[in-house]
Symmetry: C2
Subunit: 342 residues, 2 copies
DNA sequence: GTGAAAGCGCTAACAT
DNA sequence: ATGTTAGCGCTTTCAC
């Protein structure tokens, strides 16, 4: 039978109310008594019962807020679905989840949103934001004020966040190179289309890719590396011009959004060239391109799990500050025509 | 604010006790009143609060039993870890999980265990067993007696199980072929090592593989298909003799256990032949072989999630018989050297 | 500074 | 056949 506050109260010779006060570091308890209670709680290995707790705190439910740069970015649809599934499963335990969506990774927009969120006094926050100084400071203000923060999909450095839930970008890039090495022995002339040189994740996908190519010993030349700024039209135009200027291209590596645009260029200029196209994530349009055979393989990162697990971690931590929380690194998932699903 | 039995009781002009009786189909309620209560519950969209329920039923916790043919099979280590994680997370809601491990897929052993489990009157059961007539009947007796059954990893046909949580074997086989087709254009001379011709899953992995090869248009010859009976020594001996008799072999496809044995033969007889080896799952020894470069790729099936989600589904269903339950088909996970992890 | 009591939603034992 | 009550573990309010 698990230990209850009753057990502690009895053993300490105080009332349950007092135990509760001590366990929540509320004032108004004699320090000696408090020490005593803490000691007993520890030696008994007390872990509060979530069901009891949930029921009692039903009037002040656990409020969780989420910030996503998801407007216009289909990738986040699954992350949101994960948030919502967790919310549904935990609703009886008083969890409510509010989602705030912004467009793009604009610094001032993110700063503004984080300040807004601060004002709303959420118990916990899931943040997908940018890793730059002013944002880092804003997040530190949040955590200092007692809000628990989990970073989702994109981590931010040197922050007192509870944990990070998201992919290992470097490993994903490396995995892409592994697959390429499996598929080809001949020298690769590669076009790299990235989202933004300022996005750490995109850069890491490139670094991992290059390191992997070396480790696999695959001879290669990087013809060019350019930004799509996550825009299909830009991706299309730029890719088309490169493909025309470099008919020797036999591999297109797309680290971010703009997949559809880049593939349109491939279809147009790459006819019969047996081009390998490697991309990330599996938004509907990417799935179609994999099925069509335009994209050789796409590397996914368990977006649904990112949303689900972020909420879950916040919940368990907020309800019961026991266990040390560790990051969740979602897996790098290789999808080819056969296992693309849906 | 969610609907409670209080609300129903008030609206129906009866006591909460009566509502509870109706909602649990207990006898001793006037049929008219019962109808009335049921109608109101439905129109109010009543969903019992899990926290309240868990607290009240603390004395008769939810007992879940699991049967796994896991003795001597490292694959199930992760499934068990999934069971245990779910048990930990749900322990405050009265869930306890007992795991019963047997060795192999022996029919009489499984029948005997299922009968044993029947006697213990579990609320829910997670079963990984064999799809043969007497077992099917035994499971139907269980469900008829009111035990909720979830099949894990291996489904059984025509049964009133709640749902299946496990992989799509056919798809996994097909995915293996897709990867092979990506890696090779030349004719493949393939050795197929299966676990047992009697295991449906193993057969499906072969079928999917062959169909996938055709769809990808990869020319191939199946040199031989033979059983390892999940035994490394047999896998070794048989594979060695085939490799020696057929030096033209350039692909080894292993659908089940015996991976280590088969790979030992490959190392010995396949020197410098650039053999592709495809296997399933990622038990530690398989991981090592992938890292070594002996295994080209291995196809995994989310064992941890199988265990975790099976318990989760049982819990939510047993606590609250609302929503229709759907199968969870775990994803087919391609692992190569770069993303094998750990 | 501390104890006692009420109540969260539900179930089960006990009354009527 | 139905209503009442106690209690699961916890928090919170109200007394003292």
């Amino acid at each position: 039978m698990a230990v209850t506050i009753r057990d502690i109260a009895k053993k300490a010779g105080v009332s349950r109310g007092t135990v509760d006060r001590v366990l929540h570091n509320r004032k108004g308890v004699n320090e000696e008594v408090a020490q005593q209670v803490r000691t007993i709680a520890k030696e008994l290995g007390f872990i509060p019962n979530l069901a009891g707790k949930a029921l009692a705190t039903r009037k002040q439910p656990l409020r969780i807020g989420c910030l996503l740069p998801s407007i216009g970015n289909p990738f986040f649809v699954d992350v949101i679905a994960g948030f919502r599934q967790a919310e549904r499963e935990l609703s009886d335990f008083g969890v409510s989840v509010d989602i705030y969506e912004v467009k793009s990774f604009d610094r001032s927009v993110h700063l503004h949103m984080i300040d807004q969120l601060h004002r709303k006094h959420y118990d916990g926050l899931c943040l997908t934001t940018i890793d730059v100084e002013p944002v880092i400071e804003a997040v530190d203000r949040l955590t200092a004020a007692g809000t628990t923060v989990v970073t989702v999909n994109t981590d931010i450095s040197n922050t007192h966040r509870l944990c990070y839930v998201g992919p290992d970008y470097f490993l994903a890039g490396k995995t892409a190179s592994g697959l390429l090495a499996l598929a080809c022995k001949e020298t690769q002339n590669i076009l790299i289309i990235t989202g933004s040189f300022n996005m750490k994740g995109h850069q890491q996908r490139i670094m991992g890719f290059l390191q992997g190519l070396s480790e696999r010993g695959l001879e290669h030349t990087i013809i060019d590396t350019y930004e799509s700024l996550d825009d299909d039209e830009q991706a299309y135009q730029k890719t088309l011009s490169r493909l025309e200027a470099h008919p020797e291209t036999n591999c297109v590596y797309i680290t971010a959004a703009g997949v559809q645009g880049a593939c349109r260029a491939v279809k147009q200029a790459g006819k019969g060239k047996n081009l390998k196209v490697l991309s990330f994530d599996d938004i509907p349009s990417t799935k179609d391109l994999v099925r069509e055979g335009i994209i050789t393989c796409t590397l996914c990162q368990e977006p649904h799990r990112q949303g689900y697990e972020a909420i879950q971690k916040l919940f368990f931590h907020l309800m019961n500050q026991q266990d040390p929380v560790v990051d969740t690194i979602t897996r790098t998932f290789i999808k080819i025509r056969e296992n693309i699903e849906d």
